[in-house]
Symmetry: C2
Subunit: 440 residues, 2 copies
């Protein structure tokens, strides 16, 4: 065994695993030159055993179907978990940690649910557990929050962290297609899964938000305490009306520290001013805005998924772990995460947030309708910034759009309940929250 | 002496030094919670001795006029150099390193010229020399290149790294003011120095580019080998004509790896497509695009200067050094920089680059003028993408704008020389390079 090189085993040879193996095999000299570490890929675990994947062929003895060949292998220094899912990944990571191996993972679902437990185990066994690729692919947002913004109280985070939704919303803005058609197109192009639920319902974004919140606020909030809305309810009408009002619709993962030291944690479609940087993050790209007490507003942009961008982040984590091994450091665990259990910061219920709103009602086209709606809103302390009424839908109904000033969500819900009981209002209402703080 | 805490001495109590002292004093608990290190500010060296600066008052015994109280003080673990300039900063940093102290600096001018020598000295004495704040203020671009993109061959870097120039150009785009007036306004508002040469002539941007190139390519190219143009030649006419053509003018620091393994290194005003993210980085903000072989296109945005954003980066560097001390690691020097001397990568002379160009000529308004100019360009293999002729300047001359396809710079220079000899061409020509690769 070559003691001067650090040996890597990969669990899972899917898209990202293939990218990681390509970099480890093809860019070995570059990595050594850039970082001073010598990495050797030794084993790849795969359910079935192809000897090659698109663009790379590994020696036969690198490939195995038995995870024990990696997690229990004394020759392996760093285990890279890329099988996804919860149960198997969790038990293999634990076994690797107990065997004294450093672990790199891209598994946001696992960390969102069991992060606290896994980080404690890693600390106990003095190994690192790195997870840069779990959020926003190639964008180094995890390292930035852990290492670069440590002198900052993080005031807010606004992330476009789901490439599937961003691709779909971009398509809906750029052509006249509706949700169902753009989903079919995204599935055909490989941007959306056959079962797109995790992406389009905002669950994937919520899991990533949970990691960002753990790092920023040192608190592990279960995803089921977040307010999570996906994009399935966004129609061409909302896209077009928003645009006319100077806004673009994006699915944002939002965390905000409130004045009374709580954390807003929410994922939902959001209206952003159309000239803002975040509104112009298009296609399958991701971007995360972080506003810190010292650094002020920042934005990080790049590919949030895909073979090579994600592999770039995984290999950076491998290199960090390899440096720790070479320097003889036992671990460099995220402090924020380990302090979760002690944190006093609670989640701020969605009812308590204050924001601006876009509302659309379909109403009977007759005098006094706007007055009735505005009167109810006024009773709930909601004041109106602008109103647009569109041409009739049919002979008797019209779309009525309102942009409000800042209002409390609870008031908005109560007001909507009353408005929807008005006889002149037909069908439901559309409500989309507006964020102006990211208007840079 | 409290062995559990790491002691900090600051050389220079100007804007950034004040910000650093504010964070170290006011955010001590936050830093400890976020990073696990306990930092203590012990000494601040200042030429004169005010006991307070805007927003902070330090104990009298923290303040001194003698740098030896920091660099020779056995109690001090980390020296923060914020005096700027070359000679004094260099000698104090060397003295601190020889005394076994870790050093944090924001001094790009010093590193651009003497980086290689200083990093070698730091390596010899097994201390770290951190410099995140030297480039793009609060944006963690140094750490990203050093640690996050190590698995990437860096294909290109495009940076808006001088906030003064970006503020001035933004003002020129947003109102009808000319260079001289916007400079006076920037000076009045504190965005530009009384002597603005380093900023407006592109020298500051070139020094920062030299650090980015050292990290990305492991080669220390002296700034005098770069092609450096400032913004003093940009008039309202160029701003307005570019905008009509769908472009925005930004001062960019550009590094590109060529196919034959050379590095283009240039700073100049650049036309960017107006819908691109980089074109929409406004005011005193900075942004750096990095395109890597694995990660693809990325962009990092934030405040490039100012008290607290810069202090945020300085303190992140202090925390990194403190962690090294606590973990007993002797150093974590940038590998790329130390390998400079061995690098085979040469700079690509400006004559050899290929890019697109914006050209403006003032010509006599008579038939055949465009034909003569196009014929010369054609002779030099320069083909034209579009032509716009504006209304007459006076009774007999008009402005003629050309956008070219990709052409070699040497050909462009030779063609221009011939064109300027035409009798119908009055005065000089305006030439601005166009970059389309950052059109995301």
């Amino acid at each position: 065994m070559d003691k001067s090189s650090i040996n890597i085993g990969i669990l899972g040879w899917g898209t990202v695993g293939t990218g990681v193996s390509k970099i480890l095999v093809n860019q070995n000299a570059l990595i050594s030159k850039n970082s001073g570490v010598q990495l050797s890929l030794k084993k790849v675990v795969k359910r079935t055993l192809p000897a090659s994947r698109h663009g790379i062929k590994l020696p036969d003895d690198f490939l195995t179907t038995d995870p024990a060949d990696v997690v229990d292998n004394p020759e392996i220094d760093i285990v890279v978990e890329l099988i996804g899912g919860i149960a198997d990944a969790q038990s293999l990571i634990k076994r690797a940690i107990r065997n004294g191996k450093h672990v790199v993972t891209a598994n946001k679902a696992l960390l969102a649910e069991y992060g606290g437990e896994l980080f404690q185990l890693a600390q106990k066994h003095q190994v690192s557990l790195n997870f840069e690729a779990s959020t926003a692919g190639g964008i180094p947002i995890i390292k930035t929050l852990q290492e670069s913004f440590t002198a900052n109280q993080i005031q807010s985070i606004y992330g476009i962290v789901n490439g599937t939704c961003n691709y779909m919303l971009t398509e809906m803005h750029e052509s006249d297609v509706d949700f169902a058609n753009v989903l079919a197109d995204a599935q055909e192009k490989g941007y959306a899964e056959a079962d797109p639920t995790l992406d389009v319902e905002g669950i994937d974004a919520a899991q990533k938000l949970s990691l960002l919140i753990a790092l920023a606020y040192g608190v592990n909030i279960p995803v089921d305490q977040f307010h999570v809305e996906g994009i399935t309810d966004i129609s061409q009408q909302e896209i077009q009306y928003s645009r006319e009002l100077g806004y673009v619709i994006k699915l944002l993962a939002i965390a905000k520290l409130t004045d009374d030291n709580r954390v807003e944690a929410r994922v939902h479609p959001t209206l952003l001013p159309d000239r803002s940087l975040l509104a112009n993050v298009n296609g399958a790209y991701n971007a995360v805005c972080v506003i810190g007490s010292a650094v002020g507003p920042t934005l990080f942009y790049g590919q949030g998924a895909g073979e090579m961008p994600t592999a770039s982040a995984v290999v950076a984590d491998i290199i960090d772990a390899a440096k720790s091994i070479q320097l003889g450091i036992s671990s460099h665990i995220s402090h924020a995460w380990l302090d979760n259990a002690h944190s006093e910061i609670a989640v701020c219920p969605i009812d308590d947030i204050e924001t601006r709103y876009y509302l659309r009602f379909v109403v009977i086209d007759k005098p006094g309708v706007l007055a009735s709606i505005c009167s109810i809103l006024g009773n709930y302390d909601i004041s109106i910034a602008s109103v647009v009424q569109k041409e009739p839908h049919d002979t008797e109904t019209v779309s009525l759009m309102l942009l409000t000033h800042h209002a409390r969500e609870k008031n908005m819900k109560d007001a909507l309940e009353k408005i929807l009981k008005l006889e002149v209002v037909k069908g439901g209402a559309k409500l989309i929250r507006i964020e102006e703080e990211v208007a840079f």
